[in-house]
Protein backbone atom coordinates (compact mmCIF):
# COMPACT_ATOMS: atom_id res chain seq x y z
CA UNK A 1 0.00 0.00 0.00
CA UNK A 2 1.41 3.37 -0.90
CA UNK A 3 1.87 6.01 1.73
CA UNK A 4 -0.76 8.29 0.17
CA UNK A 5 -3.37 5.56 0.20
CA UNK A 6 -2.62 4.91 3.84
CA UNK A 7 -3.02 8.60 4.62
CA UNK A 8 -6.36 8.52 2.84
CA UNK A 9 -7.54 5.85 5.25
CA UNK A 10 -6.48 7.44 8.46
CA UNK A 11 -7.31 11.10 7.75
CA UNK A 12 -11.04 10.67 8.35
CA UNK A 13 -10.20 9.16 11.72
CA UNK A 14 -7.96 12.06 12.71
CA UNK A 15 -10.40 14.65 11.40
CA UNK A 16 -13.16 13.02 13.42
CA UNK A 17 -10.99 12.81 16.50
CA UNK A 18 -9.90 16.42 16.17
CA UNK A 19 -13.34 17.88 15.48
CA UNK A 20 -15.52 15.86 17.81
CA UNK A 21 -13.25 14.76 20.63
CA UNK A 22 -10.26 17.04 21.06
CA UNK A 23 -11.83 20.34 20.03
CA UNK A 24 -14.90 20.09 22.33
CA UNK A 25 -12.84 18.98 25.31
CA UNK A 26 -10.34 21.75 24.59
CA UNK A 27 -13.19 24.30 24.44
CA UNK A 28 -14.59 23.09 27.75
CA UNK A 29 -11.20 23.42 29.42
CA UNK A 30 -10.73 26.85 27.80
CA UNK A 31 -14.12 28.16 28.94
CA UNK A 32 -13.56 26.89 32.46
CA UNK A 33 -10.88 29.53 32.97
CA UNK A 34 -13.23 32.45 32.25
CA UNK A 35 -15.66 34.11 34.63
CA UNK A 36 -19.01 35.59 33.69
CA UNK A 37 -17.35 38.84 32.53
CA UNK A 38 -15.02 36.95 30.16
CA UNK A 39 -11.94 37.56 32.28
CA UNK A 40 -9.23 34.95 32.59
CA UNK A 41 -9.38 33.56 36.09
CA UNK A 42 -9.08 30.49 38.27
CA UNK A 43 -12.05 31.60 40.35
CA UNK A 44 -14.33 28.91 38.94
CA UNK A 45 -12.14 26.17 40.32
CA UNK A 46 -11.84 28.06 43.57
CA UNK A 47 -15.63 28.23 43.80
CA UNK A 48 -15.99 24.57 43.00
CA UNK A 49 -13.52 23.27 45.55
CA UNK A 50 -14.15 26.03 48.07
CA UNK A 51 -17.92 25.81 48.39
CA UNK A 52 -19.63 23.06 50.30
CA UNK A 53 -22.49 23.08 47.79
CA UNK A 54 -20.51 21.73 44.87
CA UNK A 55 -18.56 19.25 46.96
CA UNK A 56 -21.73 17.83 48.49
CA UNK A 57 -23.22 17.74 45.03
CA UNK A 58 -20.20 15.82 43.75
CA UNK A 59 -20.42 13.38 46.65
CA UNK A 60 -24.14 12.99 45.92
CA UNK A 61 -23.52 12.35 42.24
CA UNK A 62 -20.82 9.76 42.92
CA UNK A 63 -22.99 7.99 45.48
CA UNK A 64 -26.01 7.80 43.17
CA UNK A 65 -23.90 6.82 40.16
CA UNK A 66 -22.34 4.08 42.28
CA UNK A 67 -25.73 2.77 43.38
CA UNK A 68 -27.09 2.88 39.85
CA UNK A 69 -24.06 1.02 38.52
CA UNK A 70 -24.22 -1.53 41.31
CA UNK A 71 -27.91 -2.29 40.79
CA UNK A 72 -27.45 -2.44 37.03
CA UNK A 73 -24.56 -4.87 37.51
CA UNK A 74 -26.42 -7.06 40.00
CA UNK A 75 -29.31 -7.43 37.57
CA UNK A 76 -27.26 -7.61 34.38
CA UNK A 77 -24.72 -10.26 35.29
CA UNK A 78 -27.13 -13.13 36.05
CA UNK A 79 -29.33 -12.00 33.17
CA UNK A 80 -26.44 -12.05 30.70
CA UNK A 81 -25.34 -15.40 32.09
CA UNK A 82 -28.71 -17.04 31.57
CA UNK A 83 -29.25 -15.46 28.17
CA UNK A 84 -25.89 -16.80 27.01
CA UNK A 85 -27.10 -20.29 27.98
CA UNK A 86 -30.40 -20.01 26.11
CA UNK A 87 -31.15 -21.71 22.79
CA UNK A 88 -32.16 -18.60 20.85
CA UNK A 89 -29.82 -16.28 22.64
CA UNK A 90 -29.51 -13.85 19.72
CA UNK A 91 -33.24 -13.29 19.87
CA UNK A 92 -33.26 -12.74 23.64
CA UNK A 93 -30.33 -10.33 23.54
CA UNK A 94 -32.17 -8.42 20.80
CA UNK A 95 -35.09 -8.02 23.21
CA UNK A 96 -32.67 -6.54 25.74
CA UNK A 97 -31.29 -4.07 23.20
CA UNK A 98 -34.73 -3.12 21.88
CA UNK A 99 -35.53 -0.49 24.59
CA UNK A 100 -32.43 1.49 23.60
CA UNK A 101 -34.14 2.23 20.30
CA UNK A 102 -36.69 4.31 22.18
CA UNK A 103 -35.84 7.87 23.08
CA UNK A 104 -34.85 8.45 26.71
CA UNK A 105 -37.45 11.17 27.15
CA UNK A 106 -40.24 8.88 25.97
CA UNK A 107 -39.10 6.20 28.40
CA UNK A 108 -39.06 8.73 31.24
CA UNK A 109 -42.61 9.80 30.41
CA UNK A 110 -43.70 6.17 30.24
CA UNK A 111 -42.34 5.72 33.76
CA UNK A 112 -44.24 8.78 34.93
CA UNK A 113 -47.39 7.06 33.68
CA UNK A 114 -46.49 3.85 35.49
CA UNK A 115 -45.41 5.35 38.80
CA UNK A 116 -47.85 8.24 39.28
CA UNK A 117 -50.61 8.33 41.93
CA UNK A 118 -53.11 6.49 39.74
CA UNK A 119 -50.54 4.71 37.62
CA UNK A 120 -50.34 1.00 36.93
CA UNK A 121 -47.96 0.24 39.80
CA UNK A 122 -50.21 1.92 42.34
CA UNK A 123 -53.24 0.13 40.85
CA UNK A 124 -51.44 -3.16 41.52
CA UNK A 125 -50.61 -2.09 45.06
CA UNK A 126 -54.27 -1.33 45.63
CA UNK A 127 -55.18 -4.85 44.51
CA UNK A 128 -53.05 -6.19 47.34
CA UNK A 129 -54.44 -3.64 49.76
CA UNK A 130 -51.43 -1.35 50.14
CA UNK A 131 -53.30 1.75 49.02
CA UNK A 132 -51.69 4.36 46.77
CA UNK A 133 -48.07 5.03 47.66
CA UNK A 134 -45.89 7.98 46.72
CA UNK A 135 -43.50 6.36 44.25
CA UNK A 136 -42.62 9.19 41.91
CA UNK A 137 -40.17 11.78 43.24
CA UNK A 138 -38.39 9.40 45.58
CA UNK A 139 -34.71 8.48 45.56
CA UNK A 140 -35.60 4.82 45.10
CA UNK A 141 -37.65 5.44 41.98
CA UNK A 142 -34.87 7.59 40.55
CA UNK A 143 -32.23 4.91 41.11
CA UNK A 144 -34.43 2.13 39.75
CA UNK A 145 -35.43 3.98 36.59
CA UNK A 146 -31.84 5.06 35.96
CA UNK A 147 -30.65 1.48 36.48
CA UNK A 148 -33.33 0.25 34.09
CA UNK A 149 -32.14 2.65 31.42
CA UNK A 150 -28.48 1.66 31.87
CA UNK A 151 -29.03 -2.12 32.01
CA UNK A 152 -28.74 -2.80 28.24
CA UNK A 153 -25.36 -1.04 28.21
CA UNK A 154 -24.22 -3.22 31.09
CA UNK A 155 -25.57 -6.49 29.69
CA UNK A 156 -24.02 -6.23 26.24
CA UNK A 157 -20.30 -6.22 27.15
CA UNK A 158 -20.85 -8.89 29.80
CA UNK A 159 -22.84 -11.01 27.38
CA UNK A 160 -20.12 -10.66 24.75
CA UNK A 161 -17.37 -11.73 27.11
CA UNK A 162 -19.53 -14.66 28.29
CA UNK A 163 -20.09 -15.93 24.77
CA UNK A 164 -16.36 -15.55 24.08
CA UNK A 165 -15.52 -18.15 26.71
CA UNK A 166 -14.74 -21.38 24.92
CA UNK A 167 -16.87 -24.24 26.19
CA UNK A 168 -13.74 -26.35 26.48
CA UNK A 169 -12.70 -24.32 29.56
CA UNK A 170 -15.96 -25.18 31.25
CA UNK A 171 -15.69 -28.82 30.32
CA UNK A 172 -12.09 -28.95 31.53
CA UNK A 173 -13.14 -27.40 34.82
CA UNK A 174 -15.87 -30.00 35.31
CA UNK A 175 -13.52 -32.81 34.28
CA UNK A 176 -11.09 -31.71 36.94
CA UNK A 177 -13.83 -32.10 39.52
CA UNK A 178 -15.02 -28.54 40.02
CA UNK A 179 -18.64 -27.99 41.00
CA UNK A 180 -20.82 -25.63 38.98
CA UNK A 181 -20.37 -22.93 41.61
CA UNK A 182 -16.60 -23.38 41.60
CA UNK A 183 -16.57 -23.15 37.81
CA UNK A 184 -18.49 -19.88 37.94
CA UNK A 185 -16.24 -18.53 40.65
CA UNK A 186 -12.86 -19.60 39.26
CA UNK A 187 -13.42 -19.63 35.51
CA UNK A 188 -16.42 -17.64 34.35
CA UNK A 189 -16.22 -14.59 36.60
CA UNK A 190 -12.49 -13.96 36.10
CA UNK A 191 -12.83 -14.42 32.36
CA UNK A 192 -15.74 -11.98 32.11
CA UNK A 193 -14.11 -9.29 34.23
CA UNK A 194 -13.05 -7.24 31.18
CA UNK A 195 -16.71 -7.18 30.09
CA UNK A 196 -17.82 -6.14 33.57
CA UNK A 197 -15.24 -3.36 33.58
CA UNK A 198 -16.30 -1.91 30.27
CA UNK A 199 -19.91 -2.19 31.43
CA UNK A 200 -19.07 -0.25 34.59
CA UNK A 201 -17.23 2.38 32.59
CA UNK A 202 -20.12 2.82 30.16
CA UNK A 203 -22.72 3.07 32.95
CA UNK A 204 -20.95 4.96 35.72
CA UNK A 205 -19.95 8.09 33.83
CA UNK A 206 -23.33 8.99 32.27
CA UNK A 207 -24.95 8.25 35.64
CA UNK A 208 -22.92 11.06 37.20
CA UNK A 209 -24.83 13.64 35.23
CA UNK A 210 -28.39 12.41 34.65
CA UNK A 211 -30.07 15.78 34.88
CA UNK A 212 -33.27 15.08 33.01
CA UNK A 213 -34.20 11.95 34.94
CA UNK A 214 -33.38 13.62 38.24
CA UNK A 215 -36.00 16.24 37.42
CA UNK A 216 -38.67 14.11 35.72
CA UNK A 217 -38.54 11.07 37.98
CA UNK A 218 -36.70 12.43 41.00
CA UNK A 219 -38.58 15.76 41.07
CA UNK A 220 -35.22 17.46 41.72
CA UNK A 221 -34.99 15.64 45.04
CA UNK A 222 -31.75 14.27 43.74
CA UNK A 223 -29.35 17.01 42.69
CA UNK A 224 -26.44 15.81 40.60
CA UNK A 225 -23.65 17.69 38.87
CA UNK A 226 -25.73 17.48 35.70
CA UNK A 227 -28.39 19.69 37.30
CA UNK A 228 -25.78 22.33 38.01
CA UNK A 229 -24.31 22.15 34.50
CA UNK A 230 -27.77 22.57 32.99
CA UNK A 231 -28.46 25.57 35.19
CA UNK A 232 -25.16 27.28 34.41
CA UNK A 233 -25.57 26.88 30.69
CA UNK A 234 -29.28 27.58 30.33
CA UNK A 235 -30.34 30.01 33.06
CA UNK A 236 -27.39 31.91 34.42
CA UNK A 237 -25.39 31.77 31.17
CA UNK A 238 -22.28 31.29 33.30
CA UNK A 239 -20.57 29.00 30.81
CA UNK A 240 -17.29 29.21 32.72
CA UNK A 241 -18.70 27.58 35.84
CA UNK A 242 -20.62 25.02 33.81
CA UNK A 243 -17.43 24.13 31.96
CA UNK A 244 -15.53 23.82 35.23
CA UNK A 245 -18.00 21.18 36.37
CA UNK A 246 -17.59 19.56 32.96
CA UNK A 247 -13.82 19.43 33.46
CA UNK A 248 -14.30 17.81 36.87
CA UNK A 249 -16.57 15.21 35.26
CA UNK A 250 -14.02 14.52 32.53
CA UNK A 251 -11.24 14.12 35.09
CA UNK A 252 -13.33 11.73 37.15
CA UNK A 253 -14.00 9.75 33.99
CA UNK A 254 -10.25 9.49 33.35
CA UNK A 255 -9.77 8.36 36.94
CA UNK A 256 -12.42 5.65 36.61
CA UNK A 257 -10.89 4.48 33.33
CA UNK A 258 -7.42 4.40 34.81
CA UNK A 259 -8.55 2.48 37.86
CA UNK A 260 -10.36 -0.16 35.84
CA UNK A 261 -7.66 -0.47 33.19
CA UNK A 262 -4.54 -1.13 35.30
CA UNK A 263 -6.07 -4.21 36.83
CA UNK A 264 -6.91 -5.58 33.43
CA UNK A 265 -3.32 -5.22 32.25
CA UNK A 266 -1.99 -6.99 35.31
CA UNK A 267 -4.28 -9.92 34.76
CA UNK A 268 -3.19 -10.20 31.16
CA UNK A 269 0.45 -10.40 32.18
CA UNK A 270 -0.34 -13.16 34.63
CA UNK A 271 -1.87 -15.23 31.86
Amino acid sequence: MTKQLKALFYTPYFVWLGLFVIAPVGLIVYYSFFNINHQLTLANYQTFFGSGTYLIMTANSVLYAFLITLIALLISYPMAYYISKLKHRDFWILLVILPTWINLLLKAYAFIGLLSQDGLVNKCFELFGFGPQQILFTNTSFILVAAYIEIPFMILPIYNSLTDISSSYIRASHDLGATTWQTIQKIIIPMTLPGVKSGVQIVFIPSLSLFMLSRLIGGNKVITLGTAVEEHFLTTMNWGMGSTIGVVLIISMVVVMALTNTKKKRRQTIW
Binding site: N37, T53, S116, Q134, L216, G219, N220, K221, A228, T235
Partner: protein, 356 residues
Protein backbone atom coordinates in the same frame (compact mmCIF):
# COMPACT_ATOMS: atom_id res chain seq x y z
CA UNK B 1 -30.97 -7.20 5.46
CA UNK B 2 -31.51 -6.13 1.87
CA UNK B 3 -35.19 -5.53 2.61
CA UNK B 4 -34.36 -3.45 5.66
CA UNK B 5 -31.95 -1.41 3.62
CA UNK B 6 -34.59 -0.84 0.95
CA UNK B 7 -37.10 0.28 3.61
CA UNK B 8 -34.63 2.74 5.13
CA UNK B 9 -33.81 4.20 1.71
CA UNK B 10 -37.54 4.37 0.95
CA UNK B 11 -38.35 6.29 4.15
CA UNK B 12 -35.45 8.63 3.50
CA UNK B 13 -36.61 9.42 -0.04
CA UNK B 14 -40.21 10.00 1.08
CA UNK B 15 -39.04 12.40 3.82
CA UNK B 16 -36.89 14.37 1.42
CA UNK B 17 -39.74 14.51 -1.08
CA UNK B 18 -42.24 15.76 1.49
CA UNK B 19 -39.81 18.32 2.84
CA UNK B 20 -39.18 19.64 -0.67
CA UNK B 21 -42.90 19.75 -1.40
CA UNK B 22 -43.77 21.70 1.74
CA UNK B 23 -40.89 24.08 1.07
CA UNK B 24 -42.32 24.76 -2.41
CA UNK B 25 -45.79 25.31 -0.97
CA UNK B 26 -44.46 27.79 1.58
CA UNK B 27 -42.49 29.61 -1.07
CA UNK B 28 -45.56 30.17 -3.19
CA UNK B 29 -47.46 31.76 -0.30
CA UNK B 30 -44.41 33.40 1.22
CA UNK B 31 -42.41 36.47 0.37
CA UNK B 32 -44.54 38.48 -2.03
CA UNK B 33 -42.80 41.81 -2.30
CA UNK B 34 -43.63 44.52 0.20
CA UNK B 35 -46.96 43.05 1.21
CA UNK B 36 -45.57 40.83 3.95
CA UNK B 37 -45.01 40.94 7.67
CA UNK B 38 -42.55 38.58 9.34
CA UNK B 39 -43.86 37.74 12.77
CA UNK B 40 -41.69 35.96 15.34
CA UNK B 41 -43.93 34.79 18.17
CA UNK B 42 -44.23 32.11 20.84
CA UNK B 43 -45.84 28.89 19.65
CA UNK B 44 -49.66 28.96 19.51
CA UNK B 45 -49.78 32.49 20.92
CA UNK B 46 -52.03 34.23 18.38
CA UNK B 47 -55.40 33.35 16.86
CA UNK B 48 -54.71 32.17 13.28
CA UNK B 49 -58.16 33.44 12.28
CA UNK B 50 -56.96 36.96 13.06
CA UNK B 51 -54.00 36.58 10.75
CA UNK B 52 -56.23 35.68 7.82
CA UNK B 53 -58.60 38.48 8.74
CA UNK B 54 -55.65 40.89 8.71
CA UNK B 55 -54.58 39.65 5.30
CA UNK B 56 -58.11 40.07 3.95
CA UNK B 57 -58.35 43.63 5.28
CA UNK B 58 -54.94 44.89 4.24
CA UNK B 59 -53.61 42.45 1.68
CA UNK B 60 -50.53 41.95 3.82
CA UNK B 61 -49.46 38.37 4.24
CA UNK B 62 -48.18 37.40 7.70
CA UNK B 63 -45.32 34.91 7.86
CA UNK B 64 -45.37 33.40 11.31
CA UNK B 65 -42.33 31.80 12.88
CA UNK B 66 -42.26 30.58 16.45
CA UNK B 67 -39.79 30.26 19.31
CA UNK B 68 -40.01 28.56 22.69
CA UNK B 69 -37.79 30.62 24.96
CA UNK B 70 -36.78 34.25 25.33
CA UNK B 71 -33.12 33.28 25.21
CA UNK B 72 -33.51 31.36 21.94
CA UNK B 73 -35.31 34.33 20.37
CA UNK B 74 -32.64 36.74 21.64
CA UNK B 75 -29.79 34.69 20.22
CA UNK B 76 -31.45 34.35 16.85
CA UNK B 77 -32.12 38.06 16.50
CA UNK B 78 -28.70 39.04 17.82
CA UNK B 79 -26.90 36.82 15.37
CA UNK B 80 -28.72 38.42 12.43
CA UNK B 81 -29.48 36.81 9.11
CA UNK B 82 -33.18 37.01 9.91
CA UNK B 83 -35.76 39.59 8.83
CA UNK B 84 -38.31 39.55 11.63
CA UNK B 85 -40.51 42.62 11.77
CA UNK B 86 -42.14 42.00 15.15
CA UNK B 87 -41.40 39.76 18.08
CA UNK B 88 -42.81 39.14 21.56
CA UNK B 89 -40.23 39.11 24.39
CA UNK B 90 -41.11 38.98 28.08
CA UNK B 91 -40.48 42.08 30.15
CA UNK B 92 -36.94 41.32 31.38
CA UNK B 93 -35.95 40.41 27.83
CA UNK B 94 -37.27 43.76 26.55
CA UNK B 95 -34.81 45.38 28.93
CA UNK B 96 -31.99 43.12 27.84
CA UNK B 97 -32.68 43.65 24.13
CA UNK B 98 -32.85 47.39 24.71
CA UNK B 99 -29.44 47.32 26.38
CA UNK B 100 -28.02 45.26 23.55
CA UNK B 101 -29.35 47.82 21.04
CA UNK B 102 -31.58 45.32 19.30
CA UNK B 103 -34.79 47.35 19.42
CA UNK B 104 -36.24 50.13 17.27
CA UNK B 105 -38.25 52.80 19.17
CA UNK B 106 -41.96 52.90 18.39
CA UNK B 107 -43.22 55.81 16.32
CA UNK B 108 -46.16 56.84 18.52
CA UNK B 109 -47.63 59.07 15.79
CA UNK B 110 -48.37 55.97 13.73
CA UNK B 111 -50.03 54.07 16.59
CA UNK B 112 -53.78 54.56 16.93
CA UNK B 113 -54.90 52.05 19.57
CA UNK B 114 -52.77 53.00 22.58
CA UNK B 115 -55.72 54.57 24.42
CA UNK B 116 -57.28 51.11 24.78
CA UNK B 117 -54.57 49.90 27.14
CA UNK B 118 -55.06 50.09 30.91
CA UNK B 119 -52.78 52.47 32.78
CA UNK B 120 -51.71 49.68 35.18
CA UNK B 121 -50.09 47.93 32.25
CA UNK B 122 -48.28 50.86 30.67
CA UNK B 123 -45.14 52.78 31.58
CA UNK B 124 -43.65 49.89 33.56
CA UNK B 125 -40.10 49.90 34.88
CA UNK B 126 -38.78 47.65 32.10
CA UNK B 127 -39.75 50.17 29.43
CA UNK B 128 -40.52 53.68 30.75
CA UNK B 129 -43.15 55.52 28.68
CA UNK B 130 -43.42 52.44 26.43
CA UNK B 131 -40.74 53.77 24.16
CA UNK B 132 -40.08 50.35 22.65
CA UNK B 133 -42.92 48.04 23.56
CA UNK B 134 -46.68 47.53 23.64
CA UNK B 135 -48.02 44.96 26.12
CA UNK B 136 -49.50 41.88 24.43
CA UNK B 137 -50.56 39.70 27.34
CA UNK B 138 -49.87 39.81 31.05
CA UNK B 139 -50.15 37.49 33.98
CA UNK B 140 -49.04 36.71 37.48
CA UNK B 141 -47.24 34.15 39.58
CA UNK B 142 -49.58 32.41 41.96
CA UNK B 143 -50.77 29.29 43.70
CA UNK B 144 -52.79 26.56 42.02
CA UNK B 145 -54.66 24.18 44.29
CA UNK B 146 -56.86 21.14 43.85
CA UNK B 147 -60.17 21.49 45.69
CA UNK B 148 -60.26 17.73 46.31
CA UNK B 149 -57.31 18.16 48.68
CA UNK B 150 -57.41 21.80 49.78
CA UNK B 151 -60.54 23.51 51.10
CA UNK B 152 -61.56 26.14 48.51
CA UNK B 153 -60.87 29.66 49.65
CA UNK B 154 -58.61 28.60 52.51
CA UNK B 155 -55.34 29.22 50.73
CA UNK B 156 -54.78 32.94 50.26
CA UNK B 157 -51.25 33.80 51.33
CA UNK B 158 -47.72 32.80 50.47
CA UNK B 159 -46.93 32.14 54.13
CA UNK B 160 -49.59 29.42 54.27
CA UNK B 161 -47.39 27.28 52.02
CA UNK B 162 -45.11 26.80 55.02
CA UNK B 163 -47.96 25.28 57.08
CA UNK B 164 -47.37 21.76 58.41
CA UNK B 165 -50.74 20.82 56.88
CA UNK B 166 -49.21 20.70 53.40
CA UNK B 167 -46.36 18.29 54.09
CA UNK B 168 -45.09 16.85 50.80
CA UNK B 169 -47.98 18.46 48.92
CA UNK B 170 -46.42 21.31 46.93
CA UNK B 171 -44.91 21.35 43.47
CA UNK B 172 -42.71 24.24 42.47
CA UNK B 173 -41.87 25.42 39.00
CA UNK B 174 -38.14 25.01 38.44
CA UNK B 175 -37.18 28.69 38.24
CA UNK B 176 -34.71 30.46 40.50
CA UNK B 177 -36.20 33.92 40.10
CA UNK B 178 -39.78 32.86 40.83
CA UNK B 179 -39.01 30.61 43.77
CA UNK B 180 -36.69 33.12 45.41
CA UNK B 181 -39.28 35.74 44.45
CA UNK B 182 -42.22 34.33 46.41
CA UNK B 183 -39.97 33.69 49.39
CA UNK B 184 -38.96 37.36 49.29
CA UNK B 185 -42.58 38.50 48.99
CA UNK B 186 -43.59 36.32 51.93
CA UNK B 187 -41.06 38.26 53.99
CA UNK B 188 -42.46 41.54 52.73
CA UNK B 189 -39.48 42.25 50.48
CA UNK B 190 -39.26 43.18 46.82
CA UNK B 191 -38.78 40.53 44.14
CA UNK B 192 -35.93 42.64 42.83
CA UNK B 193 -33.99 42.64 46.09
CA UNK B 194 -30.23 42.87 45.63
CA UNK B 195 -29.26 42.98 49.32
CA UNK B 196 -27.20 39.85 49.98
CA UNK B 197 -28.40 39.42 53.58
CA UNK B 198 -32.04 39.61 52.53
CA UNK B 199 -31.41 37.09 49.77
CA UNK B 200 -29.71 34.77 52.24
CA UNK B 201 -32.70 35.08 54.56
CA UNK B 202 -35.00 34.24 51.64
CA UNK B 203 -32.96 31.12 50.95
CA UNK B 204 -33.07 30.11 54.62
CA UNK B 205 -36.81 30.54 54.60
CA UNK B 206 -37.06 28.36 51.49
CA UNK B 207 -35.04 25.63 53.20
CA UNK B 208 -37.78 25.53 55.84
CA UNK B 209 -40.29 24.98 53.04
CA UNK B 210 -38.39 21.90 51.84
CA UNK B 211 -40.41 19.28 53.80
CA UNK B 212 -43.57 20.54 52.10
CA UNK B 213 -42.09 20.40 48.62
CA UNK B 214 -42.99 17.28 46.73
CA UNK B 215 -41.07 18.07 43.58
CA UNK B 216 -39.47 20.86 41.61
CA UNK B 217 -40.38 20.34 37.98
CA UNK B 218 -40.70 22.32 34.77
CA UNK B 219 -43.42 22.08 32.10
CA UNK B 220 -44.46 18.66 33.41
CA UNK B 221 -46.13 20.46 36.29
CA UNK B 222 -49.18 20.99 34.06
CA UNK B 223 -49.53 17.26 33.45
CA UNK B 224 -49.01 16.38 37.12
CA UNK B 225 -51.57 18.87 38.38
CA UNK B 226 -54.11 17.76 35.79
CA UNK B 227 -53.59 14.17 37.02
CA UNK B 228 -54.18 15.09 40.72
CA UNK B 229 -50.57 14.16 41.49
CA UNK B 230 -50.16 17.04 43.97
CA UNK B 231 -52.49 19.29 45.96
CA UNK B 232 -50.70 22.59 45.41
CA UNK B 233 -48.43 24.11 42.80
CA UNK B 234 -46.68 27.44 42.41
CA UNK B 235 -46.75 28.46 38.75
CA UNK B 236 -47.61 31.26 36.31
CA UNK B 237 -51.18 32.22 35.51
CA UNK B 238 -50.79 31.26 31.85
CA UNK B 239 -49.82 27.72 32.80
CA UNK B 240 -52.59 27.68 35.40
CA UNK B 241 -55.28 28.48 32.84
CA UNK B 242 -54.06 25.56 30.73
CA UNK B 243 -54.17 23.18 33.71
CA UNK B 244 -57.62 24.36 34.69
CA UNK B 245 -58.80 23.59 31.18
CA UNK B 246 -57.84 19.96 31.80
CA UNK B 247 -59.03 19.56 35.38
CA UNK B 248 -62.04 21.42 36.75
CA UNK B 249 -60.96 20.83 40.35
CA UNK B 250 -58.05 23.25 40.01
CA UNK B 251 -58.18 26.87 41.13
CA UNK B 252 -55.72 29.71 40.87
CA UNK B 253 -54.99 32.32 43.55
CA UNK B 254 -52.87 35.44 43.44
CA UNK B 255 -51.87 36.00 47.06
CA UNK B 256 -53.16 39.37 48.24
CA UNK B 257 -49.85 40.51 49.70
CA UNK B 258 -48.42 40.68 46.22
CA UNK B 259 -46.71 38.67 43.57
CA UNK B 260 -44.81 38.95 40.35
CA UNK B 261 -46.49 40.42 37.29
CA UNK B 262 -45.14 39.38 33.91
CA UNK B 263 -45.69 40.84 30.47
CA UNK B 264 -45.21 39.64 26.94
CA UNK B 265 -44.77 42.62 24.65
CA UNK B 266 -44.71 43.55 20.99
CA UNK B 267 -41.37 45.04 20.01
CA UNK B 268 -39.73 45.91 16.71
CA UNK B 269 -36.32 44.26 16.45
CA UNK B 270 -33.42 45.82 14.54
CA UNK B 271 -33.97 43.29 11.77
CA UNK B 272 -37.34 44.84 10.78
CA UNK B 273 -37.95 45.97 7.20
CA UNK B 274 -41.69 46.34 6.57
CA UNK B 275 -42.50 49.34 8.76
CA UNK B 276 -45.81 50.19 7.14
CA UNK B 277 -47.07 46.66 7.70
CA UNK B 278 -45.77 46.67 11.28
CA UNK B 279 -47.84 49.68 12.33
CA UNK B 280 -50.89 48.47 10.45
CA UNK B 281 -50.58 45.18 12.31
CA UNK B 282 -50.03 46.74 15.75
CA UNK B 283 -53.07 48.97 15.24
CA UNK B 284 -55.08 45.99 14.03
CA UNK B 285 -54.14 43.99 17.11
CA UNK B 286 -55.00 46.90 19.42
CA UNK B 287 -58.56 47.12 18.07
CA UNK B 288 -60.74 45.96 20.98
CA UNK B 289 -62.69 43.47 18.88
CA UNK B 290 -59.56 41.77 17.60
CA UNK B 291 -57.77 41.88 20.95
CA UNK B 292 -60.80 40.30 22.61
CA UNK B 293 -60.97 37.52 20.02
CA UNK B 294 -57.26 36.87 20.53
CA UNK B 295 -57.58 36.83 24.33
CA UNK B 296 -60.34 34.25 24.06
CA UNK B 297 -58.17 32.11 21.82
CA UNK B 298 -55.00 32.33 23.90
CA UNK B 299 -56.67 32.36 27.33
CA UNK B 300 -54.22 34.78 28.95
CA UNK B 301 -55.10 38.15 30.48
CA UNK B 302 -55.27 41.03 28.04
CA UNK B 303 -53.97 44.51 29.00
CA UNK B 304 -56.45 45.98 26.50
CA UNK B 305 -59.19 47.37 28.77
CA UNK B 306 -61.63 48.06 25.95
CA UNK B 307 -61.18 44.47 24.77
CA UNK B 308 -61.77 43.15 28.27
CA UNK B 309 -65.18 44.84 28.28
CA UNK B 310 -66.10 42.81 25.18
CA UNK B 311 -65.25 39.51 26.83
CA UNK B 312 -67.95 37.39 28.53
CA UNK B 313 -68.89 38.52 32.06
CA UNK B 314 -67.54 35.24 33.46
CA UNK B 315 -64.08 36.14 32.17
CA UNK B 316 -64.24 39.80 33.16
CA UNK B 317 -65.17 38.97 36.74
CA UNK B 318 -62.70 36.12 37.07
CA UNK B 319 -60.59 37.28 40.00
CA UNK B 320 -58.09 34.53 39.26
CA UNK B 321 -56.91 36.06 36.01
CA UNK B 322 -58.14 39.64 36.36
CA UNK B 323 -57.42 40.45 40.02
CA UNK B 324 -58.82 43.58 41.66
CA UNK B 325 -57.00 46.88 41.26
CA UNK B 326 -55.86 46.61 44.88
CA UNK B 327 -54.00 43.39 44.12
CA UNK B 328 -52.71 44.68 40.79
CA UNK B 329 -51.16 47.64 42.61
CA UNK B 330 -49.16 45.22 44.74
CA UNK B 331 -47.81 43.24 41.82
CA UNK B 332 -44.18 43.74 40.96
CA UNK B 333 -42.41 43.38 37.62
CA UNK B 334 -39.00 41.70 37.51
CA UNK B 335 -36.23 44.04 36.56
CA UNK B 336 -33.21 42.80 34.70
CA UNK B 337 -30.59 42.13 37.38
CA UNK B 338 -26.84 42.30 36.83
CA UNK B 339 -25.22 38.98 35.83
CA UNK B 340 -23.57 38.76 39.27
CA UNK B 341 -26.95 39.07 41.01
CA UNK B 342 -28.56 36.58 38.63
CA UNK B 343 -25.74 34.24 39.61
CA UNK B 344 -26.38 34.83 43.30
CA UNK B 345 -30.12 34.14 42.94
CA UNK B 346 -29.31 30.92 41.12
CA UNK B 347 -26.63 29.80 43.55
CA UNK B 348 -28.92 30.32 46.53
CA UNK B 349 -31.70 28.54 44.71
CA UNK B 350 -29.39 25.63 43.94
CA UNK B 351 -28.51 25.43 47.62
CA UNK B 352 -32.21 25.27 48.45
CA UNK B 353 -32.66 22.49 45.90
CA UNK B 354 -29.82 20.55 47.55
CA UNK B 355 -31.61 20.69 50.89
CA UNK B 356 -34.90 19.60 49.53
Amino acid sequence: MKKLFAIIIGIFIICIGLAYGSQQLQKSTGDTGNKVLNLYNWGDYIDPALLSKFQKQTGIHVNLETFDSNEAMFTKIQQGGTSYDLTVPSEYMVEKMKRSHLLVPLDKSKLTGLNHYGSSFMNKSFDPKNKYSIPYFWGTLGIIYNDKMVKPGSLLHWNQLWSKKYRDDIMLVDSARDTMGFSLISMGKSVNTTNSNTLLAARNKLVKLAPNVKAIVADEIKMYMAQDEAAIAVDWSGEASEMMGNNSHLHYVVPTEGSNMWFDNWVIPKTAKHYKAIYEFLNFMSEPKNAAQNAQYVGYSTPNISALKLLPKSVQNDKQFYPTQKVIDRLEVYSDLSPAKVQQYNDLYLEFKMHH
